[in-house]
């Protein structure tokens, strides 16, 4: 790696507040903040009023390595993350082989370090082979070099209540969190799309909201009973938000994420049967997206997580039922949040910092991410041009796969620069080399 060059970020607005200031970055830390900071030997970057936020943290990313390197690798996924303003990502365990042991999680962790664009934290599987039958060696993964603190069978639900109870109980000794993909499998046999009017008309088997809500309700009760930390992945329904609100009021240690696509897109997208809109949990109704935005603004939902899920063309360019669920998200997340939360006035930039960086860092147990923008803190920052707009082109995204549901859409807000501990990882749409 090239030696660290001091940087002077000129004319920037921390949290989008106040008059533009200069930020001096030296030795990986924020060395000075203020008007007319002495640049000395620093490389001066004119940033024309860009909003400065703590680097984004994604609790939910599929990097596909090992197993499906034809769709994404840790290198390409890291590039997409850096370009999207992320400085840390949690890589889900449903790889091939599954990340249910120390060998795989250490491999992912090491590859992330080698690439160096973003801190890659492997998520460990809760159960062996994601099979939902037997606990994986959570402790061994927690004590490995990868220091796994988030466990999830994402893609599958830990639906056996006894197994879920044990996972939650066991995780308390590891200071870890169990992230649940809430989907009652008996209620979603053959499910293809949100159970509602749109899917019924199109003849797509329904994925009812209650299949998510019943698991979330159960898990909140289990978490409360065990005193363990529960994290709910990709909340998609208004009903789930309501259950979470009640659990939090009760003092249950539960956190939750919402994806950008569940904030923006609804089941009106099903018409035409383009599987680029197929995702699990499915796109819900417009009433759900509205409720999820409100819940995110109110803190009922803690954070935004992408559920970035690259898929090969042949796994999307087919009939709906055969298509794999999932969408790209790393490079579009910020813009969707600006569009759905900032522009309507539901979140200010402090709020964006909270949901994109501070809360996910806390939930994932990352001490050096999501830090305040203050002198002496790590210069792990994301700079955003709030007034820019851009048009999404899947083929131009850094991921190997192109399956973005936002193809051709003009979205607001653009990541100008990403800094990881004082080093530029992405600048003006280019990844640092």
């Amino acid at each position: 790696m090239t030696p660290l060059v001091p940087l002077l970020l000129r004319g920037v607005r921390p949290y989008g507040e106040g008059d533009p200031v200069d930020i001096l970055v030296r030795d990986g830390l924020v060395a000075a903040i203020g008007a007319d900071v002495d640049d000395g030997d620093a490389r001066v970057l004119e940033l024309a009023g860009a909003v400065v936020l703590p680097g984004f943290v994604d609790l939910h990313t599929h990097l596909r390595e090992p197993g499906r390197e034809d769709t994404e690798t840790i290198a390409t996924g890291s590039a997409a993350a850096a370009l999207g303003g992320y400085t840390a990502v949690f890589a889900m365990a449903n790889t091939d082989p599954v990340a249910d042991n120390a060998v795989v999680v250490e491999h992912v962790w090491r590859r992330g370090r080698e690439v160096g664009l973003v801190d890659v934290h492997p998520v460990g599987a809760v159960t062996v082979g994601l099979a939902g039958e037997k606990l994986a060696e959570l402790g061994t993964m927690a004590n490995s070099l990868a220091r796994v603190r988030v466990f999830s069978d994402d893609g599958r639900c830990v639906h056996d209540p006894l197994l879920m109870r044990r996972a939650l109980e066991y995780s308390t000794a590891l200071d870890a969190v169990v992230a649940q993909h809430a989907e009652e499998p008996r209620l979603t046999v053959g499910a293809q799309a949100h159970e509602g009017e749109a899917a019924a008309r199109l003849g797509l088997a329904g994925w009812p909201a209650v299949a998510e809500e019943s698991i979330v309700a159960r898990d909140c009760l289990l978490a409360h009973h065990t005193g363990a930390r529960l994290h709910v992945c990709h909340v998609s329904t208004a009903g789930t938000a309501e259950i979470l609100r009640q659990a939090k009021e009760r003092g249950t240690r539960v956190s939750a994420e919402v994806t950008p696509h569940h904030l923006l897109l609804d089941d009106g997208r099903l018409a035409g049967y383009d599987p680029v809109n197929k995702v699990n949990p499915p796109l819900r109704t417009a009433a759900d997206t509205a409720a999820l935005r409100e819940a995110l603004a109110a803190g009922v939902l803690d954070c935004v997580a992408t559920d970035h899920a690259p898929h090969a063309p042949q796994d999307k360019d087919c009939e709906w039922a055969s298509a794999r669920p999932g969408m790209l998200g790393l490079q579009t997340a910020l813009s969707v949040v600006v569009s759905t939360m900032v522009q309507p006035g539901l979140l200010d930039w402090r709020g964006v910092a909270r949901v994109m960086s501070e809360r996910p860092a806390e939930i994932g147990g990352l001490a050096d991410q999501g830090r305040p923008i203050e002198v002496g803190e790590p210069a792990t920052l994301t700079l955003v041009d709030a007034s820019a707009t851009w048009t999404v082109r899947g083929a131009e995204l850094a991921s190997i796969a192109h399956n973005t549901p936002y193809e051709g859409m003009e979205l607001p807000g653009r990541v100008v620069m990403t800094l990881l501990r004082g080093r530029i990882t992405a600048y003006e749409g280019e990844v640092a080399t």
Partner: protein, 310 residues
């Protein structure tokens, strides 16, 4: 018409034009020794069936042949389709081989829409011969043709659709088409076999066949698929038959003029009593005969006109 993918969104004028053409074709061929028209000479029609269906495939094949099209049948087994070739590759292969029209039956809802998307550039027409639980538009058209024959115009008529509406593409296509033609539709089914959001469909819903029968001009019995019988949608075949089967006794509840339809294949004794199926009220064999004329009409409207600008 470029493709026939669904009856949803089809306006009354278009539907009526197709039905009128079918009537004229039927009249033209009536009593003829040589049932062959040169209209589609040199056009190639390919049927691709990913689900077995002798009834529908043969109907399309005869329709194509009576119009002098070259008809090629591809079945999912014994072709590259059976070897796991993707639907898209199959579509592009058929278009490259010169198919003017692809008639597709597929277990996945939306498969015909996807095909139409891939084949638009090639100028190949797509007919949906049944896609999953979505639609089966030619079945609805032949049902409408049969009802017009028996009842005259459908405007203001009342039609009951009885049975597994949830999984039925026939029901969906009929709801849209009958509604477009001005008929009133009543769905009669146990709550477990009704689709989500049916309250916002342009239909009324009932759980009592006995209450509905005296009020309708036609009753359309849907097939109960074996897999549903074991899927826990209702307690037993016996209970279903008692509540929702069209028994001989129930036939008496229908008005004198009312017509009984069934898309076939029938489960005699289950959703329909044998005596009902064979009664003069039943138009089940007419449905099959009209199926050929309606499919001829569909091919005529798809293939016998100038190229439309894409």
């Amino acid at each position: 018409m470029r493709h026939l993918l669904a009856t949803e969104g089809m306006d009354a004028a278009t539907a009526t034009a197709v039905l009128d053409t079918a009537d004229q074709l039927k009249a033209t061929l009536l009593g003829r020794e040589v049932r062959k028209l040169p209209t589609l000479r040199g056009r190639t029609v390919v049927t691709v069936f990913y689900e077995a269906s002798t009834r529908t495939r043969v109907s399309f094949e005869i329709a194509g042949k009576w119009m002098s099209a070259d008809v090629v049948n591809v079945s999912a087994s014994g072709s590259s389709v059976g070897k796991g070739e993707s639907l898209r590759d199959t579509a592009l292969t058929l278009a490259a081989a010169g198919a003017d029209c692809v008639i597709v039956r597929h277990p996945a809802s939306g498969a015909a829409h996807r095909l139409a998307g891939w084949l638009t550039e090639a100028g190949t027409s797509v007919v949906n011969a049944g896609d999953g639980m979505h639609e089966h538009p030619t079945q609805a058209l032949l049902d409408a043709a049969t009802l017009r024959e028996r009842l005259g115009a459908l405007d203001g008529r009342r039609v009951a659709i009885v049975g597994d509406v949830l999984h039925s593409r026939v029901a969906r296509s009929n709801v849209h088409l009958l509604t477009a033609l001005g008929a009133e539709v009543v769905l009669v089914a146990p709550p477990t076999l009704l689709p989500s959001g049916v309250d916002r469909w342009p239909v009324t819903v009932s759980h009592s066949l006995d209450a509905v029968l005296p009020t309708v001009d036609a009753v359309m019995m849907l097939r109960v698929q074996a897999e549903r019988m074991h899927g826990g949608y209702f307690p037993s075949a016996r209970e279903y038959s008692i509540a929702y089967g069209l028994s001989e006794a129930r036939l008496g509840l229908l008005p004198e003029h009312a017509v009984v339809l069934h898309p076939g294949p029938m489960l005699r004794g289950m959703e329909i009593a044998s005596a009902v199926a064979d009664s003069p009220r039943a138009a089940i064999t007419e449905q099959v005969a009209n199926g050929v004329h309606v499919r001829m009409a569909v091919l005529y409207h798809l293939l016998a006109h100038e190229e439309e600008m894409a």
